[in-house]
């Protein structure tokens, strides 16, 4: 960093940097920090006893359980997909490779609520596969499978996007050396590739987890928000907030905020390692 040199360059006043830093800190405090701090402050205004009571409310506990279940299923699936996609794109050349990269990134440019609408138009009662699903008595919308599918859509690029650039930058020499030494597929992956990509993989998985537990727009389309059945934690927060149970909503929101803060800590820790 050459910043100090600039700071003390002769002839340059220090007033401008100080003004800009002050403005940046002030705006960020109002704009980003205040909403963050407010969540915990509002959740705890009525004391810890109320806070605990709000978190352990049966409906909230059910929402926490459902959201955990979604994450436990979606994140490993996403890790498997992300590794497969990164391995394929970084280690092989084939026609349509670049198109595949674009396709994997589609969920980034589609608003989650549109993703939810897409799923409803596919699996809903009036959807493309709706009549077939009804005939076979299969329920995807307004049930767990729909929530899982939309969450998978929204989080699809997260692991691949972290792992792929790293694998491309590292090249395949080490893995090829392992092949010449007689290593088999899984041996190569677990002994050579995985140690090389583990931090990127961890970060991708953490991002994916945070996104999976916090998904709101897409899930609210496909879940039907059935209390005590298909309400994930963000939907439960909406419900309580609209029911004017503000303290309860913020108590539930604080749990998701802690997960968001964990993401930031992991990111900072991994940046130190790189």
């Amino acid at each position: 960093m050459t910043t100090l040199a600039l700071d003390h360059a002769p002839g340059q006043s220090r007033a401008v940097p100080r003004l800009l830093i002050g403005l940046a800190v002030l705006l960020t405090a109002i704009f980003v920090l205040a909403p963050l701090v407010f969540i915990f402050w509002r959740a705890l205004t009525e004391g810890w006893a109320t806070y605990i009571a709000n978190i352990t409310d049966p409906m909230t506990l059910h929402a926490i359980w459902l959201t955990t279940l979604v994450a436990v299923i979606v994140v490993p699936v996403n890790i498997a997909f992300g590794i497969a996609a990164a391995w394929l794109i970084a280690r092989f050349r084939f026609p349509g490779r670049r198109l595949l990269v674009t396709l994997i990134e589609i969920p980034f440019s589609i608003s989650p609520i549109i993703a939810g609408i897409c799923y409803l138009l596919l699996y809903g009662r009036q959807g493309l596969l709706g009549p077939w699903l009804a005939a076979h008595d299969l329920k995807i919308m307004f049930a767990l499978p729909g929530i899982l599918l939309v969450t998978m859509f929204v989080t699809a690029p997260f692991v691949a996007r972290e792992v792929l650039p790293l694998m491309q930058a590292q090249g395949s020499e080490q893995e090829e050396a392992a092949v010449t030494l007689g290593a088999r597929g899984w041996q190569i992956f677990s002994r050579v590739t995985l140690p090389n990509i583990r931090w990127a993989l961890l970060y991708g998985a953490v991002l994916c987890t945070a996104r999976a537990v916090g998904e709101f727009g897409g899930v609210s389309v496909v879940s039907g928000s059935i209390r005590g059945q298909t309400n994930t934690l963000p939907l439960q927060i909406e419900l309580m907030f609209n029911d004017l149970n503000t303290t309860g909503a913020f108590a539930a929101a604080s749990t998701l905020t802690v997960i968001a803060l964990v993401v930031l800590v992991v990111k900072a820790a991994l940046e130190g390692r790189r």
């Binding site: 360059a9 909403p35 396709l103 549109i114 609408i117 916090g214 727009g217 909406e238 803060l261 993401v263």
Partner: protein
């Protein structure tokens, strides 16, 4: 795709069919199939009906609210984001790393959580709402609230787009300009701005696209009054709840179309910038 594996006549590494099969299956089932469903359902509507849905007064009003709020939020973020990127890359000060980490909060925080927090903060008895109300400004249930929510969720796109470019830009260039007697403003306009402009534009475009599709953060603070603070994404949602799947599909297609155009635009800006930099190097 620089730095990727070199082309080989024979595939040395194992796992091609397994990774190809897994990736294609996932992309087809999870990503492509639902998007295709939207286009097929959209095609069923027919051009006349589609036009009628899109030009209905309530749809037009929702699109206008969405575009206006997103545009204002983007202008704010372009300036605030530039300031943040500049301060974070050019100055050393205590708390810089914390300030940098805070720029990830809007990404990391679930949108519904951000939505209720902003609503409570700016409501009449909130931390910011009561002082603002005493000077006659109300944000909750107004277009201003929609703008605040959109700006909150999309600011990291601008900051994180400019930051790496500014980090790569050698401060010696600015120092050289200074020794030649250029004023700070002239240095910024002639030296810094040309280098960061593509990233700035691309980041702002992505921020705009994100604002157009934002749902969770907006619906709480917006109050969702038809013709006043109802955003397009919410109108599509309402159409679904009314079992008007065609209405929802048409609005979703319009939003998707705008998002894709913006994505292409942002890629084009970055592609041109990359070519310019390559030509100069």
């Amino acid at each position: 795709m620089s730095g990727s594996a070199p082309i080989r006549a024979k595939r040395v590494l194992p796992g091609f069919s397994l990774s190809l099969g897994t990736t294609l299956l996932y992309v087809a089932l999870v990503i492509l199939l639902p998007v295709i469903a939207l286009f097929l359902k959209g095609a069923e509507i027919g051009p006349t009906q589609f036009w009628a849905i899109i030009t209905a007064p309530r749809t037009l009003a929702a699109l206008r609210v969405t575009l206006t709020a997103a545009a204002v939020a983007t202008v704010f973020n372009a300036l605030y984001g530039l300031l943040m990127a500049w301060v974070l890359t050019r100055y050393q000060f205590p708390g810089r790393r914390i300030l940098d980490a805070l720029m990830d909060i809007p990404f990391a925080l679930p949108t519904a959580v951000a939505g209720i927090s902003l609503t409570a903060l700016y409501s009449a008895n909130g931390w910011f709402g009561s002082p603002l109300q005493s000077v006659g400004i109300e944000l909750v249930y107004t277009l201003g609230g929609v703008i605040v929510a959109m700006a909150f969720t999309s600011v990291p796109f601008v900051v994180r787009a400019i930051q790496p470019v500014l980090e790569d830009l050698d401060p010696a260039l600015e120092q050289a300009a200074m020794t030649l007697g250029a004023s700070p403003f002239a240095i910024f306009r002639r030296v810094v701005l040309p280098a960061i402009l593509p990233a700035w534009l691309a980041g702002s475009t992505v921020a705009f696209a994100r604002s157009l599709g934002e749902f969770g953060a907006v619906i709480f603070i917006a109050g969702n009054l038809p013709f006043k603070t109802e955003i397009a994404a919410l109108l599509a949602y309402i159409r679904l709840e009314e079992y008007d799947y065609q209405g929802a599909a048409a609005i979703a297609l319009v939003l998707l179309f705008i998002a894709l155009v913006l994505l292409v635009l942002s890629n084009l800006v970055q592609f041109r910038a990359a070519r310019y930099l390559e030509a100069r190097a």
